[in-house]
């Protein structure tokens, strides 16, 4: 990377404004992306801390480090935090930051709705996280199976925080998804056809559809649970003949697409990193697009493979088994195409590249154990054992987290104008890689050797001691790795080497503008003639020797102009959205409105009504003020 040291390009402030208020009132997709990044990293640390406490309790048999009740809160919140508050919002940080830059737009379609999404996420995240400090955190598992989560079996406020909190977070995800779908469909620069979009934008596009289609079922499942808990309905009331599998079906109709919501953005990120550091176009671009769509599509037909033990019958088991095996094909195709992208390339082992390669290596392991789960008889020995824990951590840590780290190292120079320190980055990578394998690989063994999941303690001599101890050591390595990363992340903001507009020699539009990008993104909206506009510009002969350019690119000199100077939007006469805190205010109203329900637990009906109506008034007032004021 030393060779990449760019000329000391100006790191002018991304925005003319600064100060706390400018962040609360921002409508700039880049600043909102940055907010998402910081917030999600904070929640990632909280989720990681929970994991470290869990692993400490499990380090040795019959430990008394935490109580059963605390342990149950910890594993519930670890899952909930990592899925809803860390990995999804980390992806959202990239959606926000990158999608408009990659398609050549000045912002998202609805800048204020975008701010609203962020504030709902932040406040909802705080809402669901705070209770753990008071030992009343949700304790029904991230999957919240009924009837355990109904009043009859969970009469405390714990589950209330979970069911209301997830409802709030769902609003954020849905609002963001409508926004990005519109942005990608409607705000592409001239010439940016769908089949010229960068792969990250493509995978994000698929994810937004998964979000808008998968969140309604869990919303409905949560509404039922909420009404059962607060208003005495009978959706999950066993005594009334309710079927607990209703929850499981609704939950997993959301839950399995959710897995792809978590992994596809990471796939997109490494699909940006691998070509850049192989100096080659992405191999099989079309196939990568179609396989992404295929994964998203099939993702809705495999939910019941989470339920092979519930006794659905041989026919249903067989169908969901075959559907699940089918989904392995487009996923495998992606792996092969990534390897082929590096083949005959010029592979540079930068830190983002290492994380991207690690994703291929580690996700493959998770994919293989996934196929083992797809076979119901084998799955009956594996489900709800530590083998499953190993499997999905290889997918989510080895896949999503590795991909997100690849993305962070890759895009940090674009976001901040400075590189992350490479030495610290290498230390982080290797500790992370070794720590991850040390944590999760032994879980394959403890699982197949009969260790159930979600147990706060176990007896010695069950054949699990060594594997648990190794996993705990691995977790401590991950804690150190993450500390190194945080240090690097914070320190490099002011001390990192200056990065130019295109520090890595990448091919897509976001690298054709200064780093950090000016508030208006592009002084002139670019015209795109191929998938790799910046390569076309910098080395028009780069694809010589191939008969096809991989798309129907327009021949001739690139119309793209690399922008190296940062101005203000005002100087260029570009109208920008006004900063406004109205979306944040409306978001606060939404959260207040929902939290009024909490008072029903103590039969404080008047208080509940007051808070709920007060919150609703704030929400409606905020929305009204927002909708009736001009955008720009």
């Amino acid at each position: 990377m030393a060779t990449l040291a760019a000329p000391a390009c100006a790191t002018a402030p991304a925005s003319t404004q600064s100060g706390l208020w400018s962040w609360i009132a921002t409508t700039d997709h880049k600043r909102i992306g940055t907010l998402y990044l910081w917030t999600a990293l904070a929640f990632f640390l909280i989720g990681g801390l929970e994991a470290a406490l869990i692993r400490t309790q499990l380090a040795r048999p019959n430990m008394g480090f935490v109580s059963a009740e605390t342990y149950n809160q910890l594993f519930t919140m670890h899952g909930t935090t990592m899925v809803f508050l860390a990995v999804m919002p980390l992806s959202a940080a990239f959606f926000n930051y990158l999608i408009p830059l990659q398609i050549g737009a000045r912002d998202v379609a609805f800048p204020r709705l975008n701010a609203f999404s962020y504030w709902v996420y932040l406040l909802g995240g705080i809402f669901i996280t705070l209770p753990i400090l008071f030992q009343v955190a949700p304790d029904g598992g991230w999957f919240g199976y009924a009837p355990l989560t109904t009043n009859q079996f969970s009469s405390g406020p714990n589950i209330d925080f979970w069911v209301i909190g997830l409802q709030i977070l769902g609003v954020s995800s849905l609002a963001a998804a409508f926004n990005f779908i519109t942005t990608i469909i409607n705000l592409r620069a001239p010439g940016m056809t769908l089949m010229r979009m960068p792969m990250f934008t493509w995978m994000s596009f698929v994810v937004q559809f998964l979000l808008i289609l998968a969140f309604p079922p869990i919303t409905v499942a949560l509404v039922f649970l909420l009404m059962d808990r607060f208003f005495g309905t009978t959706f999950y009331a066993i005594a009334q003949g309710a079927d607990p599998l209703l929850w499981q079906h609704l939950f997993w109709v959301f839950g399995h697409p959710e897995v792809y919501i978590l992994i596809l953005p990471a796939f997109g990120l490494v699909s940006e990193v691998l070509p850049t550091f192989s100096k080659k176009p992405l191999f099989g671009y079309n196939v990568m697009v179609y396989s992404g769509i295929m994964i998203g599509f099939l993702g809705f037909g495999v939910w019941a493979h989470h339920m092979f033990a519930v006794g659905m019958g041989a026919v249903a088991d067989s169908i969901f088994s075959l559907m699940t095996m089918l989904i392995a094909i487009p996923t495998g195709v992606k792996i092969f195409n990534w390897i082929a992208t590096m083949w005959a390339g010029e592979v540079r082992f930068t830190v983002p590249m290492k994380f991207a390669i690690a994703l291929i290596a580690m996700f493959t392991i998770g994919g293989i154990s996934g196929v083992m789960h797809s076979s119901p008889p084998a799955d009956l020995q594996q489900t709800d054992s530590y083998f499953v824990v190993a499997h999905f951590h290889y997918v989510l840590f080895g896949g999503s987290i590795m991909g997100i780290f690849a993305g962070i190292y890759h895009y940090y120079p674009k976001i901040t104008g400075r590189f992350l320190n490479e030495r610290l980055g290498n230390v982080h990578f290797w500790l992370n890689f070794i720590g991850m394998n040390l944590t999760f690989f032994p879980m394959h063994f403890s699982g197949l050797l009969g260790m159930p999941r979600r147990i706060y303690t176990y007896d010695a001599g069950q054949g699990w001691d060594l594997f648990n101890l190794l996993a705990t050591y691995g977790t401590y390595l991950l804690v150190i790795a993450t500390a190194v990363f945080v240090w690097n992340f914070v320190r490099s903001r002011t001390r990192g080497a200056i990065a130019g507009g295109d520090p890595w020699g990448a091919a897509t539009l976001e690298w054709s503008i200064p780093s950090p990008p000016p508030e208006y993104n592009f002084a002139q909206i670019p015209t795109v003639t191929s998938r790799y506009p910046l390569w076309d510009l910098k080395d028009p002969s780069w694809h010589e020797g191939e008969d096809s350019h991989g798309d129907t690119g327009t021949p001739g000199p690139s119309p793209l102009r690399e922008e190296t100077e940062t101005h203000t939007a005002k100087a260029l006469g570009i109208p920008m959205p006004y900063p406004t805190a109205k979306p944040a205010f409306a978001a606060l109203g939404l959260v207040v409105m929902f939290s009024g329900l909490l008072f029903l637990r103590n039969d404080l009906f008047a208080v509940a009504m007051t808070v709920t109506l007060g919150g609703a008034a704030m929400l409606i007032g905020g929305l009204y003020a927002w909708l009736t004021s001009p955008l720009e």
């Binding site: 080659k280 099989g284 006794g311 390669i357 008889p377 084998a378 020995q381 009969g450």
Partner: protein, 421 residues
Amino acid sequence: MPKLSLRQAASTALTAVALLALSGCGFTEYPNSTFNHHTDFNTAIDALFQRLIFWGTIVFVVVEAGLVYTIIKYRKRPGGPKPRPIHGNAALEITWTVIPALILVLIAIPTVKTIFQTQADAPAGALKVQVIGHQWWWEFRYPELGIVTANELYVPVGRTVEFELTTRDVLHSFWIPQMGGKRDLISNKTNYLWFTPNADLGTSAWNGFCTEYCGSSHANMKFRLYTVQPDEFDSWAKHQASPAVFSTTPAPVTTPVTPVAQVSGADSTAPTPATTIGYVFPRERLETEFPHVIPQTPYPTGLSFDDALLAGGDPARGANEGFMLGGCIGCHAISGVPGAVSEIGPNLTHIASRHTIAGGLFKNDAPTLARWIKNARHMKPGSLMNTIGRGEYDPILKTTNTGGLDDRQIADVVAYLMALK
């Protein structure tokens, strides 16, 4: 970068070796291993799993080797060749779509076969056992034999046993790793699971677990399975089906509720200790051959009991004052004792013949039983059993128990229960 390659090559080899080693691994080291052929069910699963591991290993080796080779061969070098701008190759795409598809077909066919084979109706003549999940213990009923017991299963080798799975509260899941796959216990639904322990399987003890998260003490919802020889089973079953061997008939509770402390007993019939006791899995064999089924849970701190009192426990007094008046009868049944018919807690008819209590969390012996009765909720998180000991703090109600039994009365109850062979 070669470091990465070495590591990956090593981990490849390790996976293969480790998995193969595990599949043939020793009993004592890995007493809950899923790799075995102790039943028809596990044999079928293992055949499938071996195939999955075989193909999984091949895919793993091919992909990781390809990856490592690629990044080494095409790493950036001074004077290396210029990267070739290849955009794709249709033939390759088809190849790596079709080959995985073929491998999946090779997995799918035996999968579907095994699904239908293992989920078929149980063969005729199977021993029926009703498994009823409770927070956080297991109730086992043998309807054909008239047996109701808890947390410990006896099954004869060579005969198919069919489990009928239901739950009284939340969802649970029934799993004996050494015997086959798990099956959930679902409210308002009956599930079935069957397997046949091999006829040549020796008399052995196995661990069973709850594998669906079910609340505070999910980790403490365990059970034991004893696979025994047919004659041993018959002996066990005959005895278990008989009423309580300690056939004291306590005073009927028609009289106004007497204070617990009041001493009665003169009017109770003398205990008649059992003359013949049926087969019970020998405790000493557990200790020597099957230590993994012996609970190791330590006593919680802050719970004390004067163990010296246990020697002087009077079973008759325990039956009359303790069991009847101390509240036990509200939840526990003892066959042969009038009025003791409640199904809320475990059936105690032959409790002394069991090796564990409290969902397999503790050894069944007098000191443990005494502490359990004194403050079950301190012994087991979330336990639904009331705190009985006088002056004990109830961690769920968050109050101190002002009534209840003192240590001496508890010792009597323990003496009574330990007489229920």
